[in-house]
Amino acid sequence: MRRWLPPIAIIAILLGLWQLAANLDVIANALHIEPFLVPSPSEIAQSLWTDRALLADNGWVTLQEVLAGFALSVAAGVAFAVVLHVSPTLRRAFYPLLVASQTVPIVVVAPILVVWLGFGIGPKLAIIALICFFPITVNTLDGLRSVDPDLVKMMRTLDATRWRTLRSVEGPTALPYFFSGAKIAVAVAVIGAVFGEWAGSSSGLGHLIQQASAQLQTARTFAAVVVLSMLAIVLFGLLAVLERKVAWWGPAQTRSQ
C-alpha cells in the first residue's frame, strides 16, 4: 500500500489543481478562450459516466484493432527475429531496412494505407503492426543474440540439433527480452490505432476523439483519452503479469517495480 501512496497522492494533487483552475476559469482566461472549452476533472468524470455506452462501444472497436494488430506483429516479429538470428547473411541484409521502416512517419503512411486497404479494419491492423513490429523484432533478436556462447557449445557436445538449441536455450534466453519489446509495443499499439482511425474510420476511440473535438465537446474528448490510456495501461499490466509467470528467470523478476 505504501508503494501506491506516492503516485496516488501526486495524481490527486494534480487533479485537484486542475479542478480548481477550471472552476476559477484560470486556464480559459490565460488562453483567452471560452471557459466551456476547458473541462474540469469532474466534468470529464461526468462525461465518462453519461457517455459510457458510447465510450464502451468505440473502446471495444479500438481494443479489437489493438489486439489483432499486436498479435499480428508478435507472430511476424518473432518469426523475423528468429530468421535474422539464424542467418547472419539475412541479418546483414535486412537490418538496415528494419531500422528504416521506423523512420517512416506513421501519420503520413496512414492515409495511403486507407486508400490501399479501404475503410475497414485492414489499414488499422497494418498501421499497428508496422509500429509494434519494430520493438518486438529488435528486442527478441537482441535476446537471441545475447545467449551465452558457452551454452551453445555445451549443447553441441550434448547432441543438440540447431533447432533444439534454439528452442531450449536461445528461446528461453530471449523470452524476457521479447516481453520488454512487447510491453513497449502494446503501449504504442494504442497510438497506432488512433492514427489508423483518424485516417479513415466510422468508429473507435480515435474516431470519437476526432468527432468530439470537432464539435468542441472537450469533456468527451478527454473522456475518450482517459479510456484510451486505461486500455494501454491494462494491456501493459497484463503483459507484465504474464511475463512474471512465464519468463520468471528474466531481469524483470529482480527489478523492484
Binding site: D150, K153, A160, S168, W249
Partner: protein, 287 residues
C-alpha cells in the same frame, strides 16, 4: 546408439569394491550399460588463434578407461586442448583421433565436455538439466527423467530433482553438471576445471565425490586443472604443460593403489613425492 533404458553409471557395488582399496581404476567389462572408454591419440598437435600460438606441439595417448590429468599455468591452452579433442574446434595442425576417428563430428559424438562453469539452464529444474542430452536425442521428458532419476539417488542429490538451478548450492550445481555430462552416454569425458568455482571445503568434498564417481565408470577421462594435487588425486597420470604456447614438460604417474579418503590419499608419501615432482616440472617449464 544408446537407448534411454540404459543406466550410464555402474552399480554401487563396484564403488564399494574400489573403495576397499583395490586398483584405483579398473575397466570392468561386466558392466555393459556403461560405455567402455576408448583410446584418445594425439600426435603433433599444434593450435593458434590467428597470430597467437596456443599449443606448440603435443603428443599424447590416453588408454581406454584411463583418467588423465592435465595441469599447467593459467592461460596455457588447457581449455583449448579440451575443445580441440571434443571436436568443438578444429586444430591448426596435427592429428587427434578418438577411438581411431579423427573427423571433428565423429569426435563430437564420442566426447562429453563439462565446461568450467556449471552452465545449468535456469529455466529447468535439476533433473531436466541433468537429462538434457537425452531430450536432445528425442526422448520425451518423462523418459529422460526416468533415466536420470537413479543417478540423483546415487550421487547424493535425492530430493532435489525438482529444484530450480538457482536454488542449488555450488557443489550441487557441479554435481548436476557432472550428471548431465555422464548422461550424455559418451565414452570420453572431458572435464575442464570442474571445481574451480567452489570454495575450499566444498572443493575437497567434491574431489572425493568425483573420485568415487569416476572409479565407478570405465570411461576415458581428460581432467584439466590448475591444481596439481587435485589432478594427482583424481587421475591415473598427470601431464604437466608449459606456459603458452603449451608443450608437455612432464608425464607423472599417480601413485596407485590409493586410499579413497582424500586426506589419507594426499598425505601418503608416494603422493607427496609425485606432487613435488609435478610442481617442480611446472616451475621448470615456466622458466
Amino acid at each position: 546408439m544408446r537407448t534411454t533404458s540404459e543406466a550410464p553409471v555402474a552399480e554401487p557395488q563396484s564403488v564399494k569394491r574400489t573403495a576397499n582399496g583395490s586398483a584405483a581404476r579398473v575397466v570392468d567389462r561386466s558392466k555393459p550399460e556403461t560405455p567402455p572408454g576408448v583410446a584418445v591419440d594425439i600426435a603433433d598437435l599444434a593450435h593458434s588463434f590467428g597470430e597467437l600460438e596456443v599449443i606448440e606441439r603435443l603428443d599424447l595417448r590416453l588408454g581406454p578407461g584411463e583418467v588423465l590429468g592435465v595441469v599447467g599455468p593459467s592461460g596455457c591452452g588447457k581449455s583449448t586442448l579440451l575443445e580441440l579433442v571434443s571436436g568443438l574446434r578444429e586444430q591448426t595442425a596435427g592429428e587427434i583421433a578418438v577411438n581411431g576417428e579423427s573427423l571433428p563430428s565423429d569426435r563430437l559424438s564420442r566426447c562429453a565436455y563439462m565446461p568450467q562453469r556449471d552452465l545449468l539452464l535456469p529455466w529447468l529444474v535439476a533433473i531436466d538439466n541433468a537429462a538434457i542430452a537425452l531430450r536432445n536425442r528425442g526422448s520425451s521428458r518423462a523418459v529422460a527423467r526416468r533415466a536420470a532419476h537413479p543417478l540423483f539417488e546415487r550421487f547424493g542429490l535425492a530430493g532435489f530433482e525438482r529444484t530450480r538451478a538457482a536454488e542449488l548450492s555450488g557443489g550441487m550445481r557441479q554435481r548436476v553438471a557432472f550428471l548431465r555430462t555422464l548422461l550424455a552416454g559418451k565414452p570420453v569425458l572431458l572435464l575442464d576445471e570442474p571445481f574451480a568455482s567452489l570454495d575450499a571445503i566444498t572443493r575437497a568434498e567434491m574431489q572425493e565425490w568425483l573420485a568415487g564417481a569416476l572409479a565407478a565408470e570405465s570411461r576415458s577421462v581428460i581432467l584439466v586443472s590448475h591444481d596439481v594435487e587435485e589432478a594427482l588425486y583424481l587421475s591415473d597420470r598427470v601431464l604437466v604443460l608449459s606456459p603458452r604456447p603449451a608443450r608437455a614438460v612432464a608425464d607423472i604417474s599417480a601413485p596407485a593403489p590409493r586410499a579413497r579418503p582424500r586426506l589419507e590419499a594426499v598425505t601418503a608419501s608416494g603422493f607427496t613425492n609425485a606432487r613435488e615432482r609435478a610442481l617442480e616440472a611446472l616451475t621448470e617449464g615456466s622458466r
